[in-house]
Amino acid sequence: MVAFSMRKVPNRETTEISHVLLCNVTQRVSFWFVVTDPSRNHTLPAVEVQSAIRMNRNRINNAFFLNDQTLEFLRIPSTLAPPTDPSVPIWIIIFGVIFCIVLVATMLLILSGIQQHRRKHKGPSEMEDTEDKCENVITIENGIPCDPLDMKGGHINDAFVTEDERLTPL
């Protein structure tokens, strides 16, 4: 796998398995490795090997059915997957829903309060109307209707004719 990764690097296409040297192999499957340069007989710098491994990390992992947490390359940090970032943060949606509900409730309460207020104010004025109506009802006593006093709005009593009319106009 390491040789394969190195082969992907330009200028290193001729890397063979024999150029990868292992050491310090333990039973718990951990080891140190170096990659040698075939022509010049020295080990390759770590940075180059690291970048090669990083590019092919996915394939290496898949080959062993492992992942970044279970197959660790020391000093090669894994490129972390970015967290899912929805276009609208979820909290704004929830805030919008709750705020709208609260606004609607406020409006309803204020409107019903105004209605109650108006009803209370109309109440006393309605009371006065009914009192007037009572007075206009013709009272009947012994079957004979009594004329209420202010029914006809007043008669002119001829006995008290105003003096103006006795005088002849000029």
Partner: protein, 634 residues
């Protein structure tokens, strides 16, 4: 028996007599609000008393002052201090049928300052309390996603690792301090308004306005939910918590008594203060709520029931909180241990699964025996369960850091998060109802507001005004301002007000008259227990607590904790001193309510003194002449 009563002329004229009370109740039934049923009243009072402090202050106190042994001072002081004061407020409200300003000015006009002080304190506390509710709402809005945003760190710019501040502290710390508060490094450094917190604050104040828009007419309906839902959620969390691994170790740790702690006075004083603040006394709201009751309501029973419920809720919430803390501590301990096991396995190339928690010590010795040189090079972490358990945080740290971390480790985390923050929201909102009542009703009683303004308008203006002032808590330094107000606005003034309340009722109103009133209202005189506590025991206790706090606060330099990523010991918080102008703010916030009480009394005395000669002049009678048809008869 102390029987001194201060002279109080004119008292009979200012208060309705007992005979008139029932008639007044009939007349007022349309104009003055009243409870639809007893359940509303009880739920409102319980909701006002049971608040965020029961969830995040009491468990911390309990754990830090000797566990189960803390119950002893707590219960003793509940009985000697909490219940008598509660009964007194309920009874005086029910008797005089007015809000706090009305009650105290009826007892003696010079005591109006007491009502004004209560109003001022209610206003200050309401100001910052609703900001905490805004933070709770922000977390609630963010709980509807999987994975929860505080369960993992965000990535840095080139996506190779986590943001540095987060990697050095923890995802929950980062979410709280950076993504929620965006906190600055000192209270001087105000920064700008954080728009997301502003939105949450707007939502919190609108919800409060909707619920209190018509006073108890609307809050009475809201409390059916806000007062009962916390108990439901607490029970759900208890059941869930007890099924988690390590929950019982937390509960055991909480209640293990350490009787030696009781010898320290700090335990008793903290217990007294907790009882006092937990009952929401001296805010004026309880007097108001009680004044809407029918005259013959049994306030003695009510006060005992509310006190018992409050005490029970504190213990219940402590159990739930510590079962979750036990779970979190066990998780941390397991992680720490696993790291140690991995170190050993890696160091000695042992196969997986051969070292477990049980045989760890044995394996360590075997490895040491086989290769001491290699063993000496291995570094093991110290894993102590008690350290993890006693990382007891209180206040916002408990809710927004410790608990949220524990929730992320539970399966179906968003559900638990939503439930938890709904519970905190309900607890906070029902306490805010009492605060609003303590501000709105005194303003109406003071006759500052024209009578024809509808209640909706008054409540709206108060909500709007307080909302605008609360913008200060949305700044980068908002959390520092909030802790400042929390420590000083809601502590000393309340003690002073409560002391004067008790003194006024017992010695200015007259405890004999008060006894007769209660006998008229509920049918029997208060027994010897109430007499002793009202006259002597409770005032002395309050005085003791007040003096202790005053002495401690005045002597200490004012410091506060900041979150500073540049600090060497980051992620620990750094303790720095407050700048000088903060002392002025503290004096203003804590001193003004206390000084309003004697200040108003002096003002009233001066006014009376200057008006009396003038008044007498006006009362000199001019001879009245009888006249018929406009003409004067001599």
């Amino acid at each position: 028996m102390v029987r001194l009563a201060l002279p109080n002329p004119g008292l009979e004229a200012r208060i309705p007599s007992l005979g008139e009370l029932e008639r007044i109740e009939q007349e007022e039934s349309s104009s003055r609000p009243k409870w639809d049923n007893k359940a509303q009243y009880m739920l409102t009072c319980v909701g006002f008393c049971v608040g965020l402090g029961n969830v995040w202050r009491f468990p911390y106190l309990c754990q830090s002052h000797g566990g189960g042994a803390f119950m002893i001072p707590f219960l003793i002081l509940l009985v000697l201090e909490g219940i008598p004061l509660l009964y007194l407020e309920f009874a005086i409200g029910q008797r005089l049928r007015k809000g706090s300003v009305g009650v105290w000015s009826a007892i003696h006009p010079a005591l109006k300052g007491l009502g004004i002080a209560s109003m001022f304190v209610s206003f200050m506390v309401g100001l910052y309390y609703n900001t905490i509710i805004a933070w709770v709402m922000w977390y609630f809005f963010n709980s509807f996603q999987e994975p929860l945003p505080w369960s993992q760190c965000p990535l840095n710019a080139n996506q190779t690792g986590y943001v540095e501040e987060c990697a050095r502290s923890s995802p929950v710390d980062y979410f709280w301090y950076r993504e929620t508060l965006n906190i600055s490094t000192s209270i001087d450094d105000s920064g700008s308004v954080q728009w997301w917190i502003l939105l949450a604050l707007t939502c919190a104040w609108s919800v409060l306005y909707v619920c209190t828009i018509r006073g108890i007419e609307t809050t009475g309906k809201a409390v059916y939910i806000t007062s009962t839902l916390p108990y439901v959620v607490l029970t759900i969390f208890l059941i869930r918590g007890l099924t988690l691994k390590g929950a019982t170790s937390g509960i055991v740790f909480l209640f293990t008594p350490n009787v030696a702690e009781l010898a320290k006075p700090a335990a008793w004083l903290d217990a007294g203060a907790q009882v006092f603040y937990s009952f929401s006394l001296a805010f004026g709201g309880l007097i108001s709520f009680s004044s809407y009751n029918p005259v013959h309501n049994n306030c003695e029973m009510d006060s005992v029931i509310v006190s018992v419920i409050n005490g029970f809720t504190s213990v219940y919430a402590a159990t739930v909180v510590y079962s979750i803390i036990g779970f979190r501590a066990t998780e941390r301990y397991d992680d720490c241990f696993s790291a140690n096991i991995l170190t050993l396995i890696n160091g000695f190339d042992l196969p997986e699964g051969t070292v477990t928690q049980e045989n760890f010590a044995e394996m360590q010795q075997r490895c040491n025996a086989s290769d001491p040189a290699a063993y000496a090079e291995l570094r093991f972490q110290a894993c102590d369960m008690d350290t993890f358990l006693s990382q007891g945080v209180e206040g916002t740290g408990l809710a927004f850091i410790v608990f949220t971390e524990a929730i992320t480790k539970m399966p179906v985390a968003p559900l638990w998060s939503v439930l938890f923050f709904i519970m905190l929201f309900c607890l906070g909102l029902s306490s805010m109802f009492g605060n609003m009542e303590g501000v709105v009703v005194p303003l109406q009683d003071l006759n500052i507001i024209p009578k024809k303004w509808p209640k909706e308008l008054l409540t709206g203006l108060i909500c709007l005004g307080t909302y605008l002032i609360a913008f200060i808590f949305t700044l980068n330094s908002g959390q520092y301002w909030l802790s400042l107000l929390d420590s000083y606005a809601g502590s000393i003034p309340l003690l002073v007000i409560a002391f004067f309340e008790m003194f006024s009722v017992v010695y200015v109103y007259g405890v004999d008259r008060f006894n007769r009133d209660i006998e008229f209202m509920i049918g029997h005189k208060p027994n010897i227990f109430w007499q002793v506590t009202w006259r002597v025991v409770s005032p002395l206790l309050m005085l003791a607590i007040f003096l202790f706090f005053f002495v401690i606060e005045v002597r200490e330099e004012l410091t506060y904790n900041i979150w500073d990523p540049a600090y060497e010991e980051f992620p620990k918080s750094k303790e720095i001193k407050y700048p000088g102008w903060v002392y002025a703010v503290v004096v203003l916030v804590a001193g003004v309510p206390c000084l309003v009480i004697p200040g108003f009394a002096i003002y009233k005395l001066i006014r009376n003194h200057f008006q009396r000669p003038g008044d007498q002049r006006a009362l000199v009678s001019s001879p009245s002449a009888a006249s018929v048809n406009g003409g004067l008869w001599s």
